[in-house]
Subunit: 331 residues, 2 copies
């Protein structure tokens, strides 16, 4: 069955049926002109979009992958502000010939991410479009303004640290899109890093509790995202290549490209933070206690031209990095 | 200059420059991982999308028109819940060859609507896409749950009333898309109704104050939207064709089609409400006092099969209307 046979209202009825159990604070959910809820604390709002053949290809990404990732990348933005995700509005742009089972798979992926990260799908829109796209607007909450994770709060002397590892998502994209003949055991984690990112929501909570106040999620690549932090904060930074947390599989299968993948690959959805040494140490200890992702110190914030990132190589040489980050329109 | 020459971050910088002065409640605006604000009352959230060649054609719609309408239709949804719009997240999907002046025109239209309806653009996303689309997620606020305008609050015996007039937007689309040779004086208001809808935000406030608790905005057409209200409320309705507020230009230039345009045309962005007679009378009087759009009684809510709409024609005959409303996938 094609979705053209269902019509818009049939689709909305199916979406409503897939909706998780309403949260007790959700006063009006799917089916009215707008959703209504009782907010708590500060409101956080973000939106991110995946467009077919720009952000994913059906050749290697299932509809379930697309549904998961569309929500996960928004959760990552809310985590990177120090907030908790609550309600999502889901917009689907779909060609009329889309199969109903594909729509169901997309919602299965979305529902899995929603359940994992405590998000309720509170509304949305389904429109005809010659190209498939998924846009999610995600609403979250934070306790107070002085407990946010902002981009403009880095200070000279802060350490720069990164959760988990970097480069695996970009390596996964190279492998999937380029059909690289990697062993299955090596491909699986790279593929998962690219198609099923796990936003660092629990880690963000620990960072806030430990006193971190400056963070960003790694979507554009470490160099670009650290550049955003440094420009917003009016500072520069030094990064040591040897300290970047890069998975062994990435180093092994991309022996020449791993530094580039780690610095400029993007879509890691790790958290990069800047904080004084004792705060970073406290955060590292608490993350370890809770069995969460590790936090690796990769460099430091220094006084200097705002946004300038200096890379120190293993051989002692240094270079200034371009920090334009990932640009969709130049891809 | 093409937007591909600017790159994503250049675009975001331009968008930030176009942002209205931050609201004093807006704690973090454009330029961080997410926007942050201090909410008041209940949160209302809605999203609507315009896709090129599905919802508009560049042949007759300027980019300014598209920017205005993309925000206005979302404001209409917030009005139809009885709320006040506050913050918008704007997602633009644009082909790389889009000219920067087109992007600026789109933002001019958007900024004009934002200023008119008191909305602050607090964030968004710009992505490459083979087809142009604009998705807006709009956040609004309402005072209390017992002052919302809901779809499920119609009761047998209520009058059904409509603000302004119906059919002009669909007539405008027919004239624009079909290049009908209408006199300029006739075309202008139809064109404006279709391309520059004026959501009934002030009228919604008056309806709420007068005691109305059931309303919907007319996006799918009067028959379809009244059908939504009746299904949600478990009631039926009767509508008198002779009482529909249809502009003289629509009756004159579409002598055979005006009933269909008025009942099924869609995109009127008027408010349809259901309320006891004295409440409707009070609302009519207050709207007149404030010089706002008139409220026309067009029928009544009756006990009957949920969602069934009966149309009474001028000659006394009656028919049951199909209330599937406008369906993008069957267009």
């Amino acid at each position: 069955m094609r979705i053209t046979d269902l019509g818009e209202f049939g689709l909305i009825a199916r979406v409503a049926a897939l909706q998780p159990a309403p949260n007790r604070k959700l006063i009006v959910g799917i089916g009215d002109d707008a959703a209504v809820w009782q907010p708590e604390g500060l409101a956080i709002a973000t939106t991110d979009t995946l467009v077919e053949d720009v952000h994913f290809r059906r050749r290697y990404a299932s509809w379930e992958d697309v549904g998961w990732k569309a929500l996960a990348v928004n959760v990552s933005d809310v985590a990177a502000m120090g907030g908790s995700p609550r309600y999502a509005l889901v917009t689907l742009g779909l060609p009329a010939e889309t199969a109903v089972e594909d729509l169901r798979a997309l919602y299965d992926g979305l529902a899995a991410a929603a359940a994992t990260y405590g998000v309720v799908v509170a509304g949305g829109d389904i429109v005809g479009s010659p190209v498939a796209f998924v846009t999610i607007a995600l609403y979250g909450e934070a306790a107070a303004a002085d407990r946010l994770l902002r981009r403009d709060a880095a200070r000279a002397g802060d350490l720069v640290a990164v959760t988990g590892s970097v480069g695996a998502s970009a390596a996964g994209l190279l492998a999937l899109d380029g059909d690289l003949p990697l062993p299955a055991a090596a491909l699986a984690p790279l593929r998962a890093a690219h198609l099923r990112p796990r936003p660092r929501l629990d880690e963000a909570r620990v960072l806030v509790a430990a006193g971190v106040r400056c963070a960003i999620d790694l979507s554009d690549g470490l160099a670009g995202d650290l550049g955003h932090v440094c420009r917003a904060s009016g500072v520069a930074a030094r990064v040591e290549l040897a300290r970047l947390p890069v998975a062994a599989a990435v180093r092994e299968h991309f022996p020449d490209r791993w530094p580039d993948l780690a610095l400029r690959g993007g879509e890691d959805y790790e958290l990069l933070c800047a904080a004084p040494g004792p705060v970073v140490e406290r955060a590292r200890a608490r993350l370890a206690e809770e069995g969460l992702a590790p936090l690796a110190v990769v460099g430091e914030i220094v006084a200097g031209p705002p946004g300038q990132i200096t890379l120190l190589a293993a051989d002692g040489r240094s270079e200034t990095l371009a920090t334009g980050g990932f640009e969709h329109f130049r891809r």
